[in-house]
Symmetry: C2
Subunit: 179 residues, 2 copies
Amino acid sequence: MSSARDRVLDAYETLLIERGPASATLDAVAAAAGVSKGGLLYHFSSKDALAAGLLDRLRRRSAADAEAMRTAAEGPIDYYLRTSAPGGGSPGGLTRTYLAALRIADGRPGVHDALAVVDADGLAALRTEITDPVLSWLVQLVGDGLYLRTLVGTPLPDDLGVDDLLERLRALLGPPGSA
Amino acid sequence: MSSARDRVLDAYETLLIERGPASATLDAVAAAAGVSKGGLLYHFSSKDALAAGLLDRLRRRSAADAEAMRTAAEGPIDYYLRTSAPGGGSPGGLTRTYLAALRIADGRPGVHDALAVVDADGLAALRTEITDPVLSWLVQLVGDGLYLRTLVGTPLPDDLGVDDLLERLRALLGPPGSA
DNA sequence: TTCTATGTACCGTCTGGACGGTACAGCTCT
DNA sequence: AGAGCTGTACCGTCCAGACGGTACATAGAA
């Protein structure tokens, strides 16, 4: 069984994403994690400490995810776009933690920096497949656009999917030997 | 001078974007707008009404912005990408209101719908310049990626700008007569 | 081997403060 | 006279954080 600490962080993420920061009170997080409020405060001595714990997890997962992108069988582009799209993120994955962190980017110093690190890690990983700086950035932005959709909660259009995007992008990237 | 009602909405947006939803209390909004709390409640009888007012403004501005995209001298693509990028949105523009609305997308019903409308309006406007469904969606996603960057507060890279993106996209869109 | 001590991992309650919202009396333009 | 406010006072609720206590495991001393 996972540690209570991890379960608290999981519950915090879930509440932030599904019901917003206002609902992520210490009581609610503790209840969702199956611990008491006192137990939560044992692991995270304040709400700030809880947020800091989430950012720690974000940084850790960003590094792991960048590595996963580089070693993915389908390649970084495919991996990035699929995990960014609505429904593409796995529990325990970076996407979930990223979306949760976005919800607490409220004047809280350090959040912007942590998110910027994720941005930089992702771009660096994409550049192992696309050397052209503009094109790699462009692909990242497409993925980020999918992220935004996931954040807002808008599903993908019925008639269009990530596959269509990938097909187009491959056509633009591959043939001229421009890589 | 703008009406008190508009100033309240402006202040609400500013607080939401710069200091997050938690700081956007009725007292804080009233103070930032230069009205009393009673004055604020005269225009918006509750916090829910204030949020609803913001969504009204969002829908109105989305329609106006889609029209501006269609009639922009530089064309929809140029307009959309430039206004989405960090620093590209003007006060009184759609981008600011959109980013503010994103911050209150917490279980509040209706926010997702309003944001989805903006999404649809933007895509429809882009399709006046790009008929290919996949490409128009791709361009929208690039713009949305820039939106996300604006939301997070990460500035553009030093060595890359919207111009580079536009140049590449034009090259992909224009020459083969694929439109 | 038993007694005492220390550290870890929690639980449940309480309090002070902030916030949303109400009520109302009064002022100032038009 | 009335619309559009200001300013003050107040109430009920919710929440962060503090606090005191519990259960248990390990360890060293007698």
